[in-house]
């Protein structure tokens, strides 16, 4: 865009996050609720940076036991075998279905890790007031938001394996403690993506632009 960009915040307006209604607040400190949909009005999501950091730190901590602890324990009459997430990927790979192994690897290992790194990078770039690459960073945020739910895949795989393979006393599968941590990682990173306010990415760029103008 070549003309001077004006954000709603600079114009003294507040846009409702839910129904996008533009409002001119009477008291800038007490925005109140949206008259149309009832959502709480905020110029930017409250404490966005602190909340997002807290959630991704919690998720990063859970990520360790999620990968170290077994997610499934297979009991047969002779033996008992514990599988971690990586173990499950290796099992799929060696049993010949490498496309599935790849899907599970991407969804359960790379996506959560990538989400943590991407959100960390976005937070640091916002805190340092990086002006460039806003478009790319917004695209990165959108990707994090979009693919986030897919890491739930492994939780569903475990749930339905456990539900089906109950052939006592021949064979049974029970969930391991890793599942809980893994589900926690997914939920926490999804909440973190929701807590992060992408408009912060553009704020430093908009401020810079208006200074130059």
């Amino acid at each position: 865009m070549t003309t001077r960009a004006l954000s709603a915040a600079q114009a003294g307006l507040v846009a409702c996050e839910t129904c996008k209604l533009l409002l001119r607040p009477v008291h800038p400190d007490h925005l109140g609720h949206c008259p149309r949909c009832g959502a709480e009005l905020e110029v930017r999501r409250a404490h966005s940076i602190q909340y997002t950091w807290a959630l991704i730190v919690a998720a990063a901590i859970c990520y360790i036991p999620a990968n170290m602890l077994p997610v499934m324990i297979t009991n047969t009459f002779a033996s008992s075998e514990a599988d971690t997430i990586i173990g499950g990927v290796v099992f799929l790979f060696t049993s010949g279905s490498w496309p599935l192994a790849l899907i599970v690897l991407v969804a359960s290992v790379m996506v959560p890790l990538g989400k943590l790194l991407a959100l960390g990078y976005l937070l640091i770039s916002v805190q340092r007031g990086m002006p460039g690459g806003c478009r790319e960073r917004t695209r990165l945020y959108r990707m994090v938001e979009f693919i986030g739910r897919w890491s739930m895949l492994d939780v569903f795989v475990d749930t339905f394996t456990v539900a089906l393979v109950q052939l006592q006393p021949l064979m049974s599968v029970v969930p391991g403690p890793g599942v809980l941590f893994f589900a926690a990682v997914v939920v926490l990173t999804m909440l973190a993506a929701e807590a992060f306010d992408p408009r912060l990415i553009w704020d430093s760029a908009t401020n810079l632009e208006s200074q130059n103008a």
Binding site: L92, V162, V165, R199
Partner: protein, 226 residues
């Protein structure tokens, strides 16, 4: 308390980068993207309310089938087992993972059920004029719960589980499985065919009479947008 900005309905702040911009009347099938960050600000559909309603009604029926019919039957050495979605979560609970079971239950049953019911209520109420005041509140909840309805993810998860188990036993997909496959298509289809702006423009405000002037404005805008 707040008061409406003296701007017409077409002025909008991009929800992702806060850029103020005016949405031009869109041709059918057209969409407006943010000039700065490419966020899709508005889409225009030939059938903005009836098509999503049809899809939502179908989704509600399919949802009932998917949750009652068995997903798959498993047989190995003369033994049989079958499960439903709720049964899967229940087994997880019994095996000592109640929190995981609750998360699975939420993403697989509660969130989709809430989403479908809220959308159904909103779209049915949208046929009335004027709109009941609770529509805004319901739609707000519907939009919040939407990302947690993970039918597509669950379907893929079940397929992976099936292939894993197929090594050990014979697995027959049941009716529930096919219903899930249909739902995994229907839910995204509702989201694509539905633009929340269509409802927001019709929502009556709770606290004013002087808004009637801008109300006619909105209607004119909605008609020219079609």
């Amino acid at each position: 308390m707040s008061e409406l900005a003296a701007s017409s309905q077409s002025l909008m702040a991009c929800p992702e980068c806060d850029l103020l911009q005016r949405i031009p009347p869109l041709p059918i099938g057209g969409k407006a993207q943010c000039a700065r960050c490419d966020f899709v600000l508005a889409t225009s559909h030939a059938d903005p309310l009836e098509l999503p309603l049809t899809l939502t009604v179908s989704a509600a029926i399919t949802f009932a089938v998917a949750n009652t019919a068995p997903l798959m039957d498993l047989s190995a050495v003369g033994r049989q087992a079958s499960t439903t979605i709720i049964g899967g979560a229940g087994q997880m609970w019994l095996e000592g993972e109640p929190i995981t079971a609750a998360i699975v239950m939420f993403c697989a049953v509660i969130a989709p059920a809430c989403y479908i019911m809220l959308m159904l209520a909103v779209l049915l109420a949208a046929r009335r004029s004027p709109l009941p005041h609770w529509v805004g509140e319901l739609l707000r909840w519907g939009l919040h719960v939407q990302p947690w309805a993970m039918y597509d993810v669950m379907l893929l998860g079940i397929l992976v589980a099936l292939i894993k188990i197929a090594e050990l036993a014979t697995v027959d997909p049941g009716i529930g499985m096919y219903a899930m496959g249909v739902l995994a298509v229907l839910l995204p289809a509702i989201m694509v065919s539905f633009d929340a702006r269509e409802i927001w423009q019709r929502v009556a405000w709770s606290d004013d009479q002087q808004r009637s002037a801008s109300g006619t404005d909105e209607r004119n805008y909605a008609e020219s947008g079609r």
